[in-house]
Symmetry: C2
């Protein structure tokens, strides 16, 4: 935890909102959908100073520091920070299909005994957006001043102004493409295969059988970690060091195993599979007549941020998307984070993120309008 005080004004840590039912994009019905969320700061009387933060694959609703735990964007959120809690009412929810309070594969079904497991339906990025919308309405939000997210969160941040063009004024899309690429699909396939071929996976119903696919989860996380970082970082941090006591065990391997072991303690395998499938299916053009038609729906101002040496979302691809969006009439700016960290820079390069996000959010003087 970075702050010992919680200076966010009115702060709600991990509350829950419930939808009576929700029908997914692919037509499955889920009853009693719970949405875990946190808020920081105060909504103004017009309901127009709200900012929604969308978490990435393994994130949750805990965006700001608090309750003895660092938030995934802790240094960005607080008074006089890029996401200024003196000015904005900040909301972050755990996505549907997740495993940190919102209904997902690890949740109990209506009998309150059986865990969904393999019975949880396919979820899309659009479902994540649509499930959050009624919560924001209930909180009294009339318009989102901005929606922000990186990676899987960036996919949501891009879908928001397409699905709800009148509701979103600004979107910050970080390290995400308009559609998931073949290379992304390839990495997701090996991570999926790692989990489903673990004998303890039991076709997704491990939880009801009291089992857990440990080896598969460890391996999936190890593969993921490689894609989130860069060769340069691994060279600088680990080089060719081998662990003491075993001259054949490289330090970078020990690091990856350690990351895999930590991950197992905090994430549900079927939730992981559900979310990477949602990423697989991410494609703003699907069912809309392609990218151009999708971009044409956007009224919001966009800031689209790429990260140098991002293996999964190379800046070149994002620049191409930005140009296509511009051609389709979107008011979009491209910016780039210069970092040796690779993809994970969106969770770590807080100074550069502040320099980009702060001026974009303050484009308009909110103070004169309300509060």
């Amino acid at each position: 935890m970075r702050n010992t005080q919680l200076p966010y004004g009115t702060t709600n840590l991990l509350h829950s909102f419930a939808l009576d039912h929700y029908e997914t994009e692919f037509g499955a019905r889920l009853d009693d959908v719970k949405v875990a969320y946190e808020t920081y700061g105060t909504l103004n009387s017009y309901g127009t100073n709200a900012i929604l933060l969308c978490h990435a694959l393994t994130g949750d609703a805990h965006a700001a520091d608090g309750n003895g735990r660092s938030g995934w964007w802790g240094p960005l959120i607080g008074p006089h920070r890029a996401i200024d809690t003196n000015r904005y009412f900040v909301v972050c929810t755990n996505v549907i299909g997740g495993c940190a309070g919102t209904t997902g594969p690890a949740s109990k079904m209506s009998d309150d005994v059986t865990v969904y497991g393999s019975h949880f339906p396919v979820i899309t990025i659009r479902d994540m957006v649509r499930v959050q919308f009624p919560l924001l309405k209930q909180l009294g939000i009339k318009k989102l001043h901005a929606v922000l997210g990186g990676s899987m969160g960036g996919m949501q941040a891009l879908e928001w102004p397409i699905i709800y063009p009148d509701f979103v004024e600004r979107a910050v899309v970080i390290a995400a493409n308009p559609a998931f690429t073949a290379m992304g699909l390839a990495y997701n396939e090996v991570m999926r295969r790692a989990i489903v071929s673990d004998l303890n996976y039991l076709d997704g119903d491990y939880a009801n059988a009291g089992k857990f696919p440990e080896d598969g989860m460890r391996l999936a996380r190890m593969i993921g970690m490689i894609t989130y970082r860069t060769a340069q970082l691994f060279d600088e941090r680990f080089g060719r060091q081998f662990t003491s006591g075993n001259s054949f065990d490289p330090e970078v391997g020990r690091y990856l195993r350690h990351q895999g072991n930590k991950f197992m303690e905090r994430f549900d395998p079927e939730s992981y599979l559900t979310l990477i499938r949602a990423m697989d299916l991410h494609d703003i053009g699907r069912g809309r007549g392609g990218y151009h038609a999708a971009y044409q729906k956007i009224a919001a101002e966009l800031l689209w941020i790429g990260i140098r040496d991002d293996l999964l979302y190379p800046p070149k691809q994002i620049q191409l998307a930005v140009n296509e969006a511009k051609t389709s009439g979107v008011d979009v700016t491209y910016a780039e984070i210069d970092s040796v960290l690779g993809h994970d820079a969106f969770l770590l390069e807080f100074e550069q993120l502040t320099d980009l996000i702060d001026p974009f959010l303050h484009a308009e003087n909110l103070d004169e309008r309300a509060l």
Copy 2:
């Protein structure tokens, strides 16, 4: 198979040579070490027109086409080809630790019943080189006109003129570094973990138990295949296509599983682990006082080839190595293969390889010297 004739002059397909014993770099003793090899063409009376080809991780001694099967460098080997069998005596062996005729973990131990499995010792790239040397001597080779190899074969091609400076006149090192990088170690770690955590692996003794770690091998190959190709290639070949009949199964995933399934039929898991460990340990500076001292041993002329967008051996790293080698007095030239294929270009871009290798090998007029 590409050729229906075998126009290599005297051709020996998969013969075997035996060493009474061999002591590995790390001090293990192996008795009765068999070395499977092929030769194409005829050795001249001086024993100076020999070319050694070193195979990569999953290759074998079958470099040229023949016996109804394509060789891994088939189009490069033959009369009037880059590796001209009218001029050169070409040798290719299966490496120690391999599983295609040379002694490795899948070989029987001295009791002729038990398979080595977990009892096979750690092997290094240097061991691969040292095991080949007595075979070349016995074949009557006085000097290698050249040694060539890509990837793990490139590591051997680089070690050859360091270990036997008086024996090697030229070396062509393709898609390989002076030492394996942290990113390479990371990918090898997840492939290793995939195999060893398969319940059928049985700590390496699956063969004696009549088992086979199928899931682990499939997964390791899938991960490997991703690193051998490029995002651009996957985008062009598979894009966001999903398999017919299952709208959630991406084509690129089906392709990777197919590659994984094919691989299981032809490769031994413990051999795979032995060879990737040898790659982990590849470091020309080890025990020699660093790179500079290692390079200073080289008398041979070097052609060092990088491949654009090679994920594991980026051209930038190879160029850096080439500069270091030059500073250390090595007569070395850098060249680059321009390909969308990524690392695997060293097994596929035959035209570019011909354009680079042919003039380098013909630098001197062999015909005037002998035959």
